[in-house]
């Protein structure tokens, strides 16, 4: 018996909608060729939210074929028209903010009011920002040689494969789709098998506002099958991936099949440094925001905190107090909750394992350090916000990405020591520095190996500003004009105006 192509859903907040379950290919929802499906689990209850069709290699192939065919015509659509379509996406997200936010919360474990709806705002901002770029993609005219008209055109790659994670399903989709489409590409986007539902709902919007068939294709599926097929596909011109470093490496290798362009946003273990002259109250608040938001499931979470020894104890006391008071845990539709459940049992188990490791390694538990089994929360994947103190550089909880609401706090004496500690992991995604001395902050920012540095804030990202990592955190940048340039390639055209042999 095959799964239905759509099913009705009523959410705890009263929102009712029809959830598509097919693969969105060529502006239609279709079953997977082999009939393969996957279940999406509710992180608060462990129950099945729904069954959706899962793409395998043959489905990826079909999607890529349609995308390639669509590209022939999509190439001719002007930037002005692409911008208009992208703006309509933003308009629709705005109209349906509450519903889309609710679906996102329901499938990902984000708390709706404190988290998910703000992700929708970010999607809107992202689509509007890139919509504005669509008619402004300019090449250059290089004027050094009077005998030549030399110019570049910034062409789209063509068919872009995009693989997104489960921690910000819709926001990650917006970060990928908006620049790719603005630049004139067509896309085949695979969602995470843990969170396929919200983007399938949103897929209809692309059809409704007028994107031609084949330009936007959304498939649910597993990394090992659908993801691998996309990354290695011989007719995909570029692959963009956000996820773990280990999977990022596999994608980079698979991409070698046809030398497709690769951009990767991978893991991080971002340091947050608090100098003696920091505004401690603000440092406490941002340090909490930087790791306890989104249940710590943020690639750029500042999951290591280094505090100057003079303010170490004071910081720890205030920090624990602040997290305890402000980061209430609850289910997605509990409007007073800030921290929801982790996205899946696998993640939940992995985090608890790290907490165990931390204790065994000798770190001191200042807050949390266990599963949250209060009342109904015991049914889901809830882990209490956890603060480890007195950590040492060699500890696994200091070097490995935990991806949960678990932070490791250590101390330092000199700025150079802070820099060394900051640079000691394989990652280089984000970093945060708290100090009143801007010139020292600038110096530290230039010395720390990271793609992004926040001075006096943390995880204060913005669609206008490039986002990405160095070292094992990835390659390439998303967002901002830099992110847009990752979806075009320069073709140089030389017109000979008189250079005769």
């Amino acid at each position: 018996m095959s799964a239905p192509l759509e099913f009705e859903v009523t959410l705890p907040d009263g929102n009712k909608f029809t959830q598509p379950a097919g693969l969105f290919i060529n502006n239609e929802f279709v079953k997977s060729v082999a009939g393969k499906t996957l279940e999406s689990i509710n992180p608060a209850t462990g129950e099945v939210n729904g069954v959706v069709y899962a793409a395998e290699a043959e489905d990826v192939d079909i999607a890529v074929k349609h995308a390639r065919a669509a590209f022939k015509e999509w190439k001719k659509v002007t930037g002005v028209e692409r911008g208009i379509l992208l703006n309509k996406i933003a308009d629709t997200f705005e109209e349906k903010r509450d519903l889309i936010g609710a679906i996102e919360a329901w499938d990902s474990g984000k708390t709706k009011e404190a988290n998910a709806v703000y992700d929708i705002d970010e999607c809107i901002s992202c689509f509007r920002y890139f919509a504005g770029w669509a008619d402004k993609i300019q090449g250059k005219v290089i004027q050094n040689d009077p005998k030549k008209l030399a110019y570049t055109i910034h062409e789209p790659f063509g068919v872009c494969g995009q693989i997104i994670p489960w921690n910000y399903p819709l926001a990650m989709a917006a970060w990928k789709l908006a620049p790719a489409l603005a630049a004139g590409n067509v896309v085949v986007l695979k969602t995470s098998e843990l969170t396929p539902l919200s983007l399938l709902y949103v897929a209809q919007i692309f059809k409704d506002v007028g994107f031609p068939p084949g330009v936007v294709n959304i498939i649910s599926g597993f990394g090992a099958t659908a993801g691998k097929a996309l990354a290695s596909h011989l007719d995909v011109d570029k692959i963009a991936f956000t996820g773990s470093t280990v999977t990022g490496q596999a994608i980079q290798q698979a991409a070698a099949s046809n030398m497709k362009a690769v951009t990767l946003e991978c893991g991080g273990k971002s340091p947050l440094i608090i100098r003696e002259d920091a505004d401690l109250e603000q440092a406490v608040k941002w340090a909490a925001f930087g790791i306890m938001s989104n249940q710590g499931q943020i690639c750029t979470s500042t999951s290591r905190i280094y505090v100057h020894e003079k303010v170490y104890d004071q910081f720890l006391t205030e920090y624990a107090q602040h997290v305890k008071e402000e980061y209430k845990q609850g289910t997605m539709f509990d409007s007073s909750a800030v921290v929801g459940p982790q996205v899946s049992k696998v993640q939940h188990d992995k985090i608890l394992n790290y907490i165990d490791i931390g204790k065994k390694e000798g770190a001191r538990v200042v807050l949390g350090g266990e599963k949250n089994t209060e009342g109904d929360l015991s049914k889901g994947f809830f882990i209490k916000p956890t603060i480890f103190a007195d950590v040492k550089p060699g500890m696994r909880i200091v070097n490995e990405e935990i991806f949960g609401p678990v932070v490791a706090v250590g101390k330092f004496t000199t700025d150079d020591e802070a820099i060394t500690l900051a640079n000691s992991t394989q990652y280089g995604l984000g970093a945060a520095i708290f100090t009143k001395d801007i010139t020292v902050a600038h110096y530290l920012a230039t010395e720390i190996q990271a793609g992004m540095v926040w001075i006096n804030s943390s995880n204060d990202s913005d669609v206008h500003i490039p986002f990405g990592g160095v070292k094992m955190s990835g390659v390439g940048r998303e967002l901002g004009e830099y992110g847009l340039s990752m979806y075009t390639q320069a073709k140089a055209i030389h017109v000979n105006l008189g250079n005769k042999l």
């Binding site: 002005v80 920002y129 004009e481 017109v495």
Partner: protein
């Protein structure tokens, strides 16, 4: 009894709309302090359409205060995506009101609906393009070694004064207001005294789109009073003007004498339209027609001097004459009318005077050469042949449907002819040899070169003049330079 701030006007499509008549200041329509009004005439019937309030220096003062307060608000200093939303909304509203706007423009300026509809579409498209710029204005970081951290910021200039002409009232308003709204500046915009209506209607849409009070102020009035007040106002930091070169000079002087406010100017032109032997005849004729008869020739970049290579001269001249004579001229509201009326009695008189001068100078009238009818400011499409380079009709801007046509032999010769002008706004090059087109384009001293097309605009392509045709560029990314200034910050780093 004083003039009501809104009057109903019945349009030839049978619909009646509310035309604001006041000065648009602080998002309200108000009477001028003097209560003075002036009439605006329909050029196709010579009848008065309505009176509108007339702004004088005292009214400009009030508007500038409003613009100044608005500049020091979250509109300019806050989230640019708010400005983005407003600009998108404005472009949508213009599209919703497209028919009304097109009719108002044809009524007040005399141009054909064919032309005014095109203007409205370009207006919406330009505001939409500007919306995308709001949050992309950037500075740079300059590496000078580890002793310093250097960066530049692009900041909005502040309160602007803008003076627009009567040939494209609505479109010119958009070219001025678009970048103001995009960059976070504020403005006092004066329309031309012969065409005040469409901008006042646009003001209602500006308010509806969510532009905060004081950001955009629109006043109707005359150059020597309101215009002069703007160009010499001590609190206006930048003035942008489109109009005649003579007035542009006066504005630049006034700007210098008052507070050295920054000046950009879009002035006159006498643009050469060049046809080479290997041009595609049929397509070229269309572009020659567009070049001088579109918008009744009242276009700053009109291709008003045609140069045809001798091998093709007879064919082009004869085909061009046929095309000119087959153009429909008359009632702007008839669907197939190409050319409506000239914009005013003054313009009509000036054009007829130049036609007379041309005849007296010894040029031959290939076609046209006279007024059409005796009601409405209509002029027949006019082509002069047998002209010399020193003729007034070849050197001076006529600003009407009057063109000269001259034979040339070589590429070098025509480049010299093309550049023999104090102007440098645009030029047309018609040839199937792209190498030639590029080489010729490189050598012509004009701000826009059209190859195998003419009067062909796009919101992202910059437009402006060389020499006495102006200063600065409108549209394109370049427009943002007019409304921003660069601040360099160099921080000494002590470690």
């Amino acid at each position: 009894m004083s003039l009501p701030l809104s009057v109903p006007i019945k349009l030839p499509n049978g619909k009646t709309y509310q035309q604001p008549t006041g000065l648009f200041i602080n998002n309200e329509f108000v009477q001028s302090k003097s209560k003075k009004t002036f009439a605006t005439i329909s050029p196709s019937t010579e009848e008065e359409i309505t009176q509108v309030y007339e702004a004088f220096e005292e009214d400009v003062d009030v508007a500038v205060e409003a613009a100044n307060d608005a500049f020091h608000s979250s509109w300019s200093q806050g989230d640019p995506q708010i400005r983005m939303k407003v600009l998108f909304k404005l472009s949508e509203l213009i599209e919703e009101h497209a028919e009304t706007l097109a009719y108002i423009e044809a009524l007040d300026n005399g141009k054909s609906l064919m032309c005014s509809k095109g203007d409205v579409a370009l207006t919406a498209a330009y505001f939409r393009s500007c919306a995308g710029w709001t949050d992309k204005i950037k500075g740079s970081v300059i590496e000078s070694g580890d002793t310093h951290f250097n960066y530049t910021r692009r900041e909005p200039i502040g309160v602007c004064g803008q003076i627009i002409p009567w040939n494209f009232p609505l479109l010119m308003a958009s070219w001025k207001l678009g970048p103001v709204l995009a960059t976070g500046c504020t403005t006092v915009l004066k329309t031309a005294e012969s065409t005040p209506l469409s901008a006042l209607y646009l003001a209602t849409l500006i308010k509806e789109a969510g532009v905060p009070a004081g950001v955009v102020n629109i006043v109707s009035g005359f150059g020597p009073s309101a215009g002069a007040a703007i160009s010499s106002h001590p609190k206006i930091k930048k003035v942008a003007f489109t109009g005649s070169t003579a007035t542009g000079r006066r504005i630049m002087k006034a700007a210098a004498d008052s507070n050295l406010k920054k000046v950009t100017l879009e002035l006159g032109g006498k643009s050469p339209n060049i046809v080479f032997d290997d041009a595609d005849v049929k397509l070229t004729i269309q572009h020659l027609v567009t070049g001088i008869f579109y918008n009744t020739g009242e276009v700053c970049c009109a291709g008003s001097r045609i140069y045809v290579q001798e091998g093709i001269y007879d064919t082009i001249t004869s085909e061009f004459r046929k095309a000119a004579e087959s153009l429909k001229i008359g009632d702007p509201f008839k669907e197939d009318t190409f050319m409506g009326a000239q914009a005013s009695q003054m313009q009509l008189d000036k054009i007829l005077k130049y036609i007379d001068i041309g005849k007296k100078e010894g040029a031959s009238v290939i076609t046209g050469g006279e007024r059409l009818g005796n009601k409405g400011y209509f002029v027949k499409p006019t082509i002069f042949g047998d002209v010399r380079e020193d003729h007034q009709i070849v050197k001076e801007e006529i600003f009407g449907p009057v063109v000269t046509i001259t034979k040339f032999k070589t590429v070098d010769e025509v480049i010299k002819l093309a550049n023999n002008s104090e102007y440098g706004l645009a030029a047309g090059v018609h040839t199937t040899d792209i190498n030639k087109a590029i080489n010729v384009s490189n050598k012509i001293n004009s701000g826009t070169i059209w190859v195998n097309t003419y009067n062909d605009f796009h919101p992202m392509v910059p437009f402006g003049g060389y020499s006495q045709s102006g200063i600065g560029r409108e549209m394109g990314e370049e427009a943002l330079d007019n409304y921003t200034q660069v601040k360099a910050v160099r921080i000494a780093l002590t470690k």
